[in-house]
């Protein structure tokens, strides 16, 4: 399966070139967020995109898209451009959209709440809300805006959303349901997410004066994840079809697996993660992938999640241990967009032959030892990579990616 296009809106940049620079130079997008301080949250750092230039999307799109939909549309413009696909060529039943969000357009819910709190007439809210807040908002806005006529929907599985959406797009194309799928994830940060994750004690509290150091996967002093937002979109096409139209193939999706722990809503036990990686590797083996050079793990920096991932990687890849690094210290945890962001980071590292190190990994925690943690920028040719996400609700998804010979 060919990835012929990619587009990204993230705190590491809003183009592939910018993101490559951020990854190479470990330029973090995590900052102090004054609003989190004003809310009285214990964690006051995050990765917010801020205002984006979206006039090019048109007036109607601007009204019916929430922030996450806008991020997805801007990423989609880049993705189609890099794929060399004209807007008029996606207006067919053979093209579809599979773009998930973890939480939908929740900024809209907060707008309604503040209206009521201020005693304003509900009539003054207008009627755009439903299409801005529905969980399929990003996917269906994209379909309407682009004129895509094939299967178009959202897929949502907490932090695994982006990887599952890409994996599902991969399935739709490999089974011949679609010729082309625009697949990925999007997320906008909103107050309730910040509040509840803060209450979960899943976000760092002692780094508000050093935001860039806040997210520290596998480190002795890690305190949790840092929330962020954005979108990532891939253009997926069958390899033969992509070659036939002379497209530049950025990478190949060689495998996909998804599995649930079937146990706890909060605590990962590693069983689903192990099975989803095994399933992705089974796919990839059929295409001749025998080893993985690099793993971009979930690596959110949580006390419970990190050791489970390390143990899983160690056990599954004991024969030929891959390099391992998390990009979350730089990009934060963009929830429903995370899997798509990290698939894009991984593709860019495959293409440019380097591994961006796990920032802030100053002292590897004893429970996180046993894998080849990358702690400095490593220039290395990469042929194969695995990226996975493990989320709330026991959700896990993994993608195997492979570089393509020119």
């Amino acid at each position: 399966m060919a990835v012929t296009g990619l587009g990204i809106v993230s705190v590491l940049g809003q183009s592939a070139a910018e993101v490559v620079r951020s990854l190479r130079e470990s330029r973090s997008g995590i900052r102090l967020v004054p609003e989190m301080k004003a809310l009285g949250l214990r964690c006051q750092v995050g990765g917010l995109i801020g205002e984006v230039a979206c006039a090019a999307l048109g007036k109607r799109a601007g009204q019916s898209m929430s922030a996450s939909g806008t991020f997805a549309a801007l990423a989609c413009v880049q993705a189609l451009e890099s794929a060399g696909i004209a807007r008029e060529d996606v207006r067919t039943p053979r093209v579809g959209v599979c773009v998930g969000t973890g939480y939908g357009g929740n900024g809209e819910v907060e707008r309604v709440e503040s209206f009521y709190r201020e005693g304003k007439s509900p009539r003054r809210l207008g009627a755009m809300g439903p299409v801005r807040m529905m969980s399929s908002s990003a996917a269906l806005n994209l379909a309407a805006w682009l004129g895509v006529k094939g299967r178009s929907y959202a897929l949502s599985s907490a932090c695994a959303t982006g990887a599952d959406a890409i994996g599902h797009g991969f399935d739709l194309v490999r089974h011949g349901v679609l010729d082309t799928c625009l697949a990925g994830g999007a997320e906008e940060v909103w107050r309730a997410a910040l509040t509840f994750f803060d209450n979960l004690a899943a976000m760092p509290r002692d780094y508000n004066d050093r935001p860039v150091q806040a997210c520290r996967p596998y480190d002795r002093d890690r305190q949790g994840m840092v929330l962020s937002e954005g979108a990532g979109i891939l253009v997926l096409e069958a390899l033969e079809a992509a070659r036939a139209r002379g497209a530049t193939i950025l990478a190949e999706v060689a495998g996909y697996g998804s599995a649930n722990d079937g146990a706890d809503m909060f605590e990962p036990n590693g069983t689903g993660l192990r099975r989803c990686i095994q399933a992705a590797m089974r796919d990839a083996r059929e295409l001749g992938v025998t080893a993985i050079d690099y793993v971009n793990p979930h690596g959110a920096g949580t006390r419970l999640g990190d050791p489970v991932e390390v143990e899983t990687i160690r056990a599954l890849f004991a024969e030929r241990p891959p390099l391992v690094s998390s990009t979350k210290p730089l990009n934060g945890h963009s929830l429903g967009a995370a899997g798509a962001h990290e698939a894009i980071f991984t593709i860019l590292m495959l293409r440019h032959g380097f591994v961006s190190p796990t920032l802030n990994l100053d002292h590897v925690a004893p429970e996180c030892e046993g894998v080849r943690h990358v702690r400095t920028l490593t220039e290395v040719p990469l042929r194969t990579a695995l990226t996975f996400n493990a989320g709330l609700g026991g959700a896990n998804a993994a993608l195997v990616l492979r570089s393509v010979e020119p």
């Binding site: 007036k59 009204q63 003054r124 009627a127 755009m128």
Partner: protein
């Protein structure tokens, strides 16, 4: 800014039309291609901007840009009375 100018500004913000198309005689639905949801958004923006209520009876009578301006001028006058 006059009521007419503000009305024009709101319509331009919501509808995908050019400034010279928003004439007083232009009809919202046929000339300016407003959909039902556009009308809701336009009337909501009128209510928020001028702090008046536009019930469905008043809304139904608005066909052209001038109708909207007239209705708003009347509603503003009634509010001040």
């Amino acid at each position: 800014m006059s009521v007419a100018e503000k009305v024009k500004e709101i319509i331009l913000k919501i509808l995908d039309v050019k400034e010279d198309e928003v004439t007083p005689a232009a009809t919202l639905i046929d000339d300016l291609q407003a959909t039902s949801i556009d009308l809701v958004e336009i009337f909501t923006a009128f209510e928020n901007t001028f702090d008046v209520e536009i019930d469905s009876k008043k809304g139904e009578k608005i066909v052209t840009v001038q109708d909207a301006i007239d209705m708003l001028n009347t509603a503003i006058a009634e509010k001040g009375a």
